[in-house]
Symmetry: C2
């Protein structure tokens, strides 16, 4: 095998690997892989295009941030008809807070796709959120607004955007459920196990048993978060019963 | 004619009037007129829906602001491949500045459609921009993102977003053109006439003559703005000639 052939071969194998891992994370097949590669290229790589413009995720971050803002705004607008401009603005800033975006990026394991000269453990927390924003920008460019909106619905809004919790009305679904279980005289148990697999970042998986039956499962980067997420899922499943009790 | 018939009749005549005026401003037929009516309802009207939620343009303003942000971001992202995140953020904030949005709303004459208990002349400058944002939000809800993007392209980006001017590289197209005309020994003349028609806000129209021939026409709420706009139009028409001279 000649050198050029070898390089071409290894490059396309890399692309195939990136494609599969990306598809696993975003849940659909990317069309233009170059856009996504950019979304995971850190400035330390010092890559430039033919015109000398830097190729890294920072510009896509700008675009993704704006797209997230409009998609979340639209969601809140529709979801809370009684909320005025001030309320909607406050809720949006909670959803797209740095902390929240970092959590999202971390849970999706985006850091594993980042191409960088700096060792990954040297990055601060913000890289998770920055790459998440860049990914949203890349999806918008690759597949358009509707597709981007569906991705944000599925990966951000459904698992994370909870109006009542954002409003501070519900501080913890775990405590809400425990309270309910006590009143109803039901047993309540979390089973937590380490579920990191081959991933760099540790993950915890929990099963929530109510009266000995699995009520919900969840997975997150901390035990506390995984429990809260499972409790939230169980809460929505059981909501009618709980509301009836009030 | 019975009273109810009379009311129904006058209401639908009002709707027809609103529909035609709105269509004239936005350049296409609105589908759901109620959304647009909300975009032009001031809080002083104190309108409420069946659930007691206030019906006015403030929530639509929130939505339109976010949509404008994402559309302008996308435009700048594509238009300036060399601009980094900081540059793009700065440019966006110039385009969607309060002053700029007020100018846009004023030039479209949106205030004439506003339903309010407060006399229009008592409003400050910001109502023009606020209603403009609300209108963008209404278009998004009525016709979706792509349509909203086309509207913003046509009414905001094409006539107002000029990267070189935003960057401060070109301070005035008028002075640029005058300089060029002098070098080229061409005559340069603005003809300004009052063109308010029946509108509440005074409008000026200008014709720009270069060497006795009309090079461009424009219309705006001040003489200075109309001249600058005509100069800009002429500049783009003549750009090849001007660049060749450099």
């Amino acid at each position: 095998m000649g050198l050029i052939h070898k390089i071409l071969h290894s490059r396309s194998a890399d692309d195939g690997n990136f494609f599969m891992r990306l598809k696993g994370i975003i849940g659909f097949a990317p069309k233009d892989l170059e856009i996504y590669k950019k979304a995971f290229t850190h400035r330390s790589i010092n890559k430039k295009d033919a015109k000398g413009n830097p190729v890294n995720y920072e510009r896509l971050e700008f675009l993704g941030d704006a797209m997230l803002g409009s998609i979340i705004s639209n969601h809140l607008f529709n979801q809370v008809p009684s909320g005025d401009e001030g309320y909607l603005t406050k809720m949006r800033s909670k959803v797209v807070s740095r902390e929240h975006l970092n959590e999202l990026g971390k849970d999706l394991g985006l850091i594993h796709l980042v191409d960088s000269k700096i060792p990954k453990e040297h990055f601060g927390e913000n890289i998770h959120g920055n790459v998440f924003e860049a990914l949203v920008g890349a999806i918008f460019l690759d597949r358009g607004y509707m597709f981007c909106e569906r991705f944000v619905q599925k990966k951000v809004i459904k698992p994370y955007v909870d109006i009542e919790k954002l409003e501070g009305k519900i501080l913890s679904y775990k405590s809400l459920l425990i309270e309910w279980a006590q009143k109803e005289k039901k047993t309540f148990l979390f089973e937590v196990y380490d579920d990191s697999g081959n991933e760099l970042i540790k993950h915890f998986a929990v099963k929530l048993f109510i009266d000995g039956k699995i009520a919900a499962k969840a997975r997150a980067t901390s035990k506390k978060k995984a429990e809260e997420r499972a409790a939230k899922r169980a809460y929505f499943k059981l909501q009618n019963k709980i509301d009836a009790q009030k």
